[in-house]
Subunit: 298 residues, 2 copies
């Protein structure tokens, strides 16, 4: 199977898992929040984070995707909640995301805030349930995966990065790196480390995946900065030039497009080098996936 079809297959696997774990509406008085959560969760996402988790799990010898699907769903819910809150008028004030209206443009600001809260809370509910259902050895691994994900999603990770993004006016290279590493890389690192932990991978393997995640995450975000300049709204599915609109410095405004592209390439090389240290026949897809992330147009 070629990469593009394999990717589509994996995205479909993730989407089935998301639908399975999406909480079901039980009341006529608050069904709108379920609709809003599902609207954003099932929008045309690339499913990068759960796919990364699945790949590191397999590379570390995991062979029962069912035992990690709760974590894959939780990770995508956390990612989606962060997009919903980031798009709000008080933050980036974006009208479009993934080619469709943002959650608050579709459902109103109040429901969007609550749908974000609902997705974050559901992510933890799902992971806690998964920990409870298992035998004791597995429960420990699962709790460790929860901890990786929780830290990456919290104030020492993604939320801290978003705060820096929102409040910093004088954006130097140090600040940009802080923002990218916390806002984007942290969750990508945790997707990979959680997968490795869930497969009972050695500490060394977990840390190698952390390095790979750092490189991919940073490359991904610099690529985002580049696409924000060179892409069109139609290609990107969200407004282009939104960084510039908000007067923010990015890799591109400081380093220029050519140097930014070179940095992306170096990071990708570094990620591939680390990936090479694994002796597993399962690593081929992740290798191609990393190239795909670099070459993406949206």
């Amino acid at each position: 199977m070629n990469f593009s079809n394999e990717l589509k297959d994996k995205q479909q696997v993730v989407e089935k898992i998301l639908l399975k774990y999406m909480p079901e509406n039980a009341s006529p008085y608050d069904h709108v929040v379920y609709n809003a959560m599902k609207y954003s969760l099932m929008a045309n996402g690339k499913r990068i984070r759960p796919i990364l988790m699945m790949e590191s799990y397999k590379i570390c010898g995991g062979n029962n995707i069912r035992e990690i699907e709760a974590f894959m769903a939780a990770m995508e819910m956390i990612h989606t909640y962060s997009l919903i809150h980031d798009d709000l008028p008080a933050m980036d004030n974006d009208d479009y995301r993934r080619g469709i209206l943002t959650c608050h443009k579709k459902y109103g600001e109040d429901i969007a805030i609550l749908a974000g809260d609902g997705l974050l809370n559901s992510a933890y509910e799902i992971m806690i349930d998964a920990c409870l259902k298992d035998n004791k050895v597995k429960a420990k691994q699962k709790l460790t995966a929860c901890k990786e994900i929780g830290k990456a999603a919290g104030v020492k990770g993604m939320i801290g990065g978003q705060v820096a993004d929102v409040i910093q006016n004088d954006i130097t290279m140090d600040v940009i790196n802080y923002i990218h590493i916390h806002k984007t890389s942290a969750i990508i690192e945790a997707s990979l480390t959680a997968g490795a932990v869930l497969a009972n991978g050695s500490m060394q393997k977990v840390e190698t995946f952390r390095k790979i995640g750092r490189c991919i995450g940073l490359a991904f975000q610099i690529q985002d900065d580049i696409l924000d300049i060179v892409s069109t709204t139609e290609e990107l599915g969200k407004q282009v030039g939104s960084d510039n609109k908000n007067g923010k410095n990015t890799y591109v405004t400081i380093k220029g497009i050519e140097e930014s592209r070179q940095i992306v390439n170096e990071l990708i090389e570094k990620a591939l080098d680390s990936l090479n240290s694994f002796d597993s026949s399962e690593k081929e897809f992740l290798e191609e996936f990393i190239f795909y992330l670099r070459n993406r147009k949206k």
Copy 2:
């Protein structure tokens, strides 16, 4: 010691625990979110939920508060995040809470949204850490407590209640009860049931505490509706008449003040009856605490 001093002591115990579990700022780029989280968390709260957890834990035979303090902190963080998000302009649009400016009036809407997210995520980080640190039997109890709390905080609990509160225009008695039970009682029930679970209380004891929580929670919220009419801004520490300002029906607008007061009394009686079924010398404080909740002026 009289009740009032005992209550103050317990509130101080909770506040020390909160400070212990409040995440510490590690970076100059996002310290504002730590300040905002701490500002709202350490505001003049009544600490009802962690105190309830402590009491049910003791009544069920628990004798080591240190093993539940992570859950007490988490519960107050979840309560505080919900207040921060509820106060936002897109929701209740309140300027004052507990006698001081609401989080968004003090720090801006963007930081308030992120401080709320940060508190919710921190609550789970803290509970997950507590589960990981313990031996296997305790880990199972702790995970069960996490599950109680997670469900109560999520779309099937508090968030669902807030959604109904925000979107329902034609507010009948059924809708009000749905809102109160989900938005307020669920978390109060979970405070009590989590305490019972953490003390390894029997299923029957856990369920009795669930009943008590339902009654207290409903009484507490109806009392809130009453105070919103009869109190002054100064006494209440937040704007009075805010329910009315938003044109919402409440127990008071439908049933009148006298009947609402009577319903509160009946619910309190029911809670005390259930509490009586426990054979424990530790129940005296909770009994007085329940009277205190009924008689409160803010």
